[in-house]
Each structure stands twice: as structure tokens, then as C-alpha cells.
């Protein structure tokens, strides 16, 4: 199966793989919240240690990971940063609290130290959450994902939809290829020889048989599930949610501490004693921070406004 990509359906053998779905989903959620909550590069750096260690410990196939990170660096890192510099060169003023110009080209285009820091910090933040996602995807089979969601008290029907989606998407993809091939034989041109509009129209026509044959399946699947008692009780158990390993027990206890830590951090650094601007930076002391509204630094507004 070539369209499974990063997802593994069979659990691996490392410590991370052997955790229960519940622990994995819990860690994923907590790390994601933590990374969203903080704008301090130092904290993010500390937070990324664990996901990166987890990825390495799983001895994954690095090829698709490298590809995805490469894609991320290109799109978010390089293209995104250039766009930001173009549209809002003074974003550093709003978000970091200063405007030290280091290079200028005309009135509307300049580079400030603070904007560069802002771009860097934002990229680090995204990269970190990306690492969390990769660690989670590598460690979790779809069924563990479903049972893990159930552990977090997500209604089990929702969880089952998640696992059913993983179950059927590869089938639908294969059916799509079959339909596409047969249509091409009948003369539907899907190669670059046809114009984009024609290709889009032809692809839309392919969806008819795909949807019709998939809907037929839905009824059968629903019957199969009914016939095996799905949906009768308020709760259900999960075969994939196995007994807790030692690591599970330790990690779940740490998760409690982690949760307290996150709450405390949010309450203290974001509510009681918030940093005056979004991002912390190493080169501006708290007293020197200039506070400016978000829209005032958007040069795109200047182009249209004045």
C-alpha cells in the first residue's frame, strides 16, 4: 500500500509505541496546549526536547519526515517569512515591542531586528508543534487514536468515526484510481494535454461513480455494525486500549504535574503578569517595550489608506 504514508496501522515495538492510546492522546493534547500557550522561545525550546527525543527513540523511517520538514521550512519558513516582510515589515513593533531598522529599501520596505526575531520565534513555535504532531502520528495507530480519544471522554461514536475514516480512506483512494483509469480509457483527458478547466470538470464527473459506489458501502457498513451491537450501550470498551505499561503509569502521573504547570504558567504569565507584547525577545528589556496596536504596523493598510 503506497498511500499509507506516515501512518502505521500496526504498533511498533519501542517504549513510545507501547504506550496506551490514552496516554499518547493526552500527551499530544497537553504538549499542543503548552506550545500554543507560550510565546517564549526558551520555553518552547524546553518543550520540544521531549517530542524530538520521542521521535528519535522510535527509530522511524526519516525519509517522509525529512520531506515534510523540508516542505514546512520552504512554505512556512521561507515563503511565509518573505510574505510577512513584504506585507508587514514592522510586525516586530507590535509583537516584540521595538523597531530597530537594520536595512531599508524605500519607505514601505525595511527589515527590523525585532521583525526578524518575530519571524524566527513564530517559526520555532510552529516547528515545535509540528514535532509534536510527527511524534504523535509516528507513535499512534488509528485505533489507538480512537480509543485514546475515548479515554479523554470524547463520545465513542465520534471516536469510531475516526477509526472508520482511516479504515475506508485507502479503499476510496483505490476506487478513485480505478474509476479514473476506466474513464481515461473512455476518453476523458486528465493529462496536461487538456486545459485546467476541462480537467477540473472531468475530475468532478469522476466523483459521481465514486460517491454512488461509496454510498452503497455506507449502508452495508452501517448494517454490519448494527448487527454486532454497535450503539446499544452508553459506553464501550476498546480492544486496542491495552493494560497500562510502567511508562504509562509514570507518564500519566507526570501529565498531572504538567497540567498543573501549564495552568500555572497561563495564569501567571498570560493573565496576572502578562508580557506587554506577544513575544519575549532577548534584546529588549521589559521597560523599553513600545506598545503599538496590531493594525498600525500593517503596511498593506498604508498602501491603501494613505
Amino acid at each position: 500500500m503506497n498511500n499509507r504514508f506516515l501512518i502505521n496501522f500496526t504498533p511498533g515495538s519501542t517504549m513510545m509505541h507501547k504506550l496506551t492510546g490514552g496516554t499518547k492522546v493526552l500527551l499530544f493534547v497537553l504538549f499542543t496546549i503548552a506550545i500554543i500557550a507560550t510565546f517564549d522561545v526558551r520555553v518552547i525550546a524546553v518543550l520540544s526536547i521531549l517530542p524530538i527525543a520521542a521521535i528519535i527513540s522510535m527509530k522511524p523511517n526519516y525519509k517522509p519526515i525529512r520531506f515534510m520538514i523540508g516542505f514546512m521550512v520552504l512554505v512556512v519558513g521561507i515563503i511565509g517569512s518573505l510574505m510577512l516582510l513584504l506585507v508587514s515589515p514592522n510586525a516586530g513593533l507590535t509583537n516584540v515591542g521595538g523597531s530597530t531598522v537594520i536595512w531599508r529599501l524605500g519607505e514601505n520596505f525595511f527589515v527590523t531586528k525585532e521583525t526578524l526575531w518575530y519571524i524566527f520565534a513564530m517559526f520555532v513555535k510552529r516547528l515545535a508543534s509540528f514535532m509534536v504532531v510527527i511524534a504523535f502520528v509516528l507513535a499512534t495507530t488509528p485505533s489507538e487514536f480512537a480509543s485514546g480519544l475515548a479515554f479523554l471522554h470524547v463520545p465513542y461514536k465520534v471516536c469510531t468515526i475516526v477509526s472508520l475514516a482511516y479504515r475506508t480512506i485507502p479503499d476510496i483512494a483505490r476506487r478513485y484510481t480505478d474509476i479514473k483509469n476506466s474513464m481515461q480509457m473512455r476518453g476523458v483527458e486528465l493529462s496536461k494535454k487538456a486545459s485546467l478547466g476541462k480537467r477540473l470538470k472531468a475530475t468532478a464527473a469522476l466523483l459521481v461513480p465514486l460517491v454512488v459506489s461509496s454510498f452503497g458501502k455506507v449502508e452495508v457498513i452501517a448494517n454490519a455494525m448494527d448487527l454486532r451491537g454497535f450503539g446499544r450501550l452508553k459506553k464501550r470498551t476498546w480492544y486496542s486500549e491495552h493494560e497500562l505499561t510502567k511508562a504509562d503509569k509514570v507518564l500519566r502521573k507526570l501529565c498531572i504535574l504538567f497540567t498543573i504547570g501549564i495552568v500555572a504558567y497561563i495564569v501567571w504569565f498570560r493573565v496576572i503578569n502578562p508580557w506587554p507584547v506577544t513575544y519575549w525577545s532577548p534584546f529588549i528589556a521589559r521597560e523599553d517595550i513600545v506598545k503599538v496596536g496590531r493594525f498600525e504596523t500593517l503596511s498593506i493598510l498604508k498602501w491603501f489608506g494613505k
Partner: protein, 597 residues
Amino acid sequence: MADTVIRFKDFGFQYKVQQKPTLYDINLEIHKGEKVLILGGSGSGKSTLANCINGLIPFSYEGTITGSVEVNGHETKGSSIYKLSKEVGTVLQDSDAQFVGLSVAEDIAFAMENECIPRSQMVPIVEEHAATVGMQDFLKAVPFDLSGGQKQKVGIAGVLGSNVDILIFDEPLAALDPRMGEMAIELIDQLAQDKERTIVIIEHRLEDVLHRRVDRVILMSEGRIVADTTPDEILKGTLLQQYGIREPLYITAMKYAGCSLEGNDGLSSIDNMVFSNESREKLLRFFESQVESHEPHLGEELVAVKDVSFSYDDSRKVLEDVSFTIHKGERIAVVGRNGAGKSTAAKLICGICRPNKGSITIDGKDAKGLSIKEIGERVGYVMQNPNQMIVKDTIKNEVEYALTLRNMPRDQIIARATDALNACSLFPMRNWPVDTVSYGQKKRITVASILVLQPDVIILDEPSAGQDYRSYTEIMKFLDVLNKEYGKTIVFITHDMHLALENTDRAIVFTDGRLLKDDRTFAVLADNDTIEKANLKQTSLYRLAQRLGLEPERVIRHFIDYENYRSREKGNAKDEEFEGKELEDVEAEDSKEGGQA
């Protein structure tokens, strides 16, 4: 007499969306420990009957019930689908759709999960049931890596999970290759050894089910039970032909030989039957006699595959050094187990895949320089499931689609489409919406929509899958007309040995990516070595030959020659019958049952 576990009394059912009832006056008792076959064509109501037992009716499908049906002494109306699921286990026809878990173990555990059984109790039960069906070594396997037969085994283990004492198998053979089908029947028989268990099999393939003993056969037609008797009795009578059920080949052979079926004991099993002296003599005389043999004449060469190797990725070769040619006017069966490379061979010919090594020539031109679309004008490919091909609303638009795409002048389109519609006997219904016709008719529409391109070769993928004998014969007759009158080359990709035997002259056998044999069909089917290597199944003619002490190849060949001779004799009568089919009433049930395959 053992306890009655299922009792239908003056039972009738009408689906909410339909004009007339699907079941009428059903009176039926099934006893504990029985193994019952419910036989009938598409639209006979046999699946509906099964759904009345497992509770899908009335709990999932709405409709009107008359009379009563009791399971284990309780009226099903007063029960619920969940309560019934603890008493009745159903293995659906589509074992792929039935597989809801993401691994074998999870799927077996599914019913227990829903019962909220703690995991610690589930694990040993899952292992036990997996062992019952022989899947204990595949507990972690994912559905995408399993064959149809393995998925079905998991499906069976999954209903055992809830410890049910009634098992319903809805068309267990529909999606399996012959060898796997045989194993499924053996497995069902093994489950039937437990006398606490009642087994109901819904099928239309009588011969394959009779591979193992059944206690009773219930024949259904148009919503009524028309026979409720032993397998031996039903084979003796004329009911099977009357209701469009294919009788076992050896029975047909005995009838051709003029045997009286009465004096033979154990008629339902070719292995255990005791031939009467009269039958034995008549059979021996029949197979000694001479009939004019049918030699296919070979037309010009259309497709040449030469030393072709192919793999989807570098790791595993799907085809290796395969060479064969296809001539004009041939009828060819491409056979072999799933994954043997037969579909890939077809894809290579159609240009969907391109060979890594070797060459394919179509009509003298190297296929390398031809696009899929261009090849499509010479070689037409009809997919297994017509629902995966149909894109337009009416039959006419669907058939014209390929020509409209090529911007052909309107009058030319109409001329060509009319030809194709006529060839497929669809012309009178050309303005019908596509979704009102039966599965068999949809299949004809897809053939017509390929035929408008006037290809020389038509490749059909599993033409018999999901169809009963009647609509299957209809399609075969019509393809035969295309072959004989229009000179089209017909290539079947199939694992249906009956189909290959009766409708093709030549068989190409694949196994593990290699071409194992390329010979006359009867010769291939008489070659035990090939049959075993390719995971095929002997037809019962082979066993008949062995039982009579005759040479199998001779017996099979004689049988085919005799059939050809008969159909030539019938000649015109057959054509008329075929013409008459086209306006046949279409039952919604028909398309529904067929569509699930």
C-alpha cells in the same frame, strides 16, 4: 425433533419504498442444529428473508410485516436488533465492508467492545475464535493486507464473538476465488459440527455449497418458498431450471447422457454418490460417443505481449517475462488467484500501467507511443462493478459519453450509439434513467458504453461477480453474439471456472506473476497440476471422470463439444429467447441485491 429456533408463520413483508411485497406467505421452521441452504436468484427475496431473522427488518429497513417470525421463541418485532445480535450472527456478502476494525483482532473483538466487556476478558476469546477460523497468526494484520477469503474468516470469527447459536451466511461465495470458496464451505461445515449451532446459508451457487453436506434446501422465487426439501430431491426435479438456478455440472452431464436420476443414491455429492448401473452405463456410452468438435479459427493478431515484466515499486515483481498474443475473434479466459497478476496484465494492455521491460504491440503498433485514450479505442475495459463506471443520468447519455468527449459530429454519434445500444439490447430502454435498472442491465450499459468506441478487444473484469445465474447467462449470451456476429475478441478476467469452461476457447493461467499455462480451456481444466498451482478448483466434471475411470480431458472436452452442438441445434430458438429478455420487468430488489456485490 429438535427444538424449532426459527419459525415463520404466514409471514409477509413489504419494504416501505416498494409497490408490492417482497415476501409472501412464508411458512418455515428451522430446527436447532440444522444446516439449511436458502436458494434463489436475485430478487427472489432470499436476502430479505435473512434480514427478517437477524432483525435488520424491521429495525433498519422500514416496511409492513404480516404474520409472525419467531427466533428462539420470541417474536422479532418485540425484540431489538441488539438483542437479536446476541442470538443471530450474520456474515454479510461483502466481507470487506463487514470488516470495521483496523486489525484482525480488533474486528473480532468489535461485538465484545460494544458489550462493554473488559479487555482482559476479550483477549482470550479473540484468540480462541481466531483459532477456530485459522487466523490466529494474523491477529495484528490490517485489512488492506488480507485476501477476500481471509477477511471472510475474520467476519465469521467476529460473529462467533458474541456466542450466537444461529449463524446466517449471506452469499458467502460471492467475493471469493474458487479455492477460497471451497475452504469457506469447509469452514462453515466445521462450524456446523457443533449440534447446538444452526446454520443458514443464502446462496445461488448450488454446486459450490454442495461441496459439503446440507440438511435441507429451501428454494425461493418471487418472494415465495417454492420448495423445501432435501438436496437429493431438488436435484432430481426440474425446479432448478424452472427458477433459473444453475444445476451442478455433473448433473447436467448425467442429463445429457439420458440417465434417470432416480436410482442414484447421494446425488448431492459427486464424491459419495452411488451410481446406478444404468447411469454408469449411459454415462460411459455418452462420453465414448463422437460429437463434432469445435475448433476456434484464429483471426489476425491484435495484441502481442512480449517478454513483459512489471512492478509497481522496485521491491516485488508483479509480472515477470510474460508473453502471449490475442487474435481477432477469440474468447479468452485469464485465470489465476487474486494477486497472481491477471488484472495487472489487463492494465498493461490498456496502457494504464506501462511495462518495465518487454513490449506490447496493439494492431501492429508499439503501445509505447499510444496514450490510454488511444488504446481505449482498440481495447475496451469493462470494470467489475458497473456502479464504478456510470457517470451520466440516462442510458443514452451514458453510452454516448465517450463519443461526445471526442467531439464527434452529432449524426455519427447517434449512428454509433444506436448500433451499440442494439447490440446490447438496450435500444428500447435508451431513455430510461440509469438508476432504475438492474445490476445485470447496468453491466450491459457499461459494455455498450465501451462498444461505441468500436474496439476490437473487450476485456471484462469478473463478469459473473455479484450476479445470479439468470442475469449471468443473459450477459454471456449477449457477449457471445458480440463475438460471433461482430467478431469482437472477448477477454474475461475471472476465477469462475464454469464461466471459463463454457464461454471461452482458450485460457491463460497466471500464478505469482508468471504465465503458467496458455492452452485450450478444457485442457487447462483437466490439468490437475495447473489447477493446484493456480489456486483454481476442479469442476465436478473432473471428479465425474475420475469416478467413471475416464480421462478428465476427454470428458471435459466432450461435454463442451456436446453443449456447443446443442446450442447450434437450438440456434434460432435461443435468439428469440434472448430478444424477449429486454423488456423484462425490473424489480428494485434485483438491483439492490446485485449492487451490494
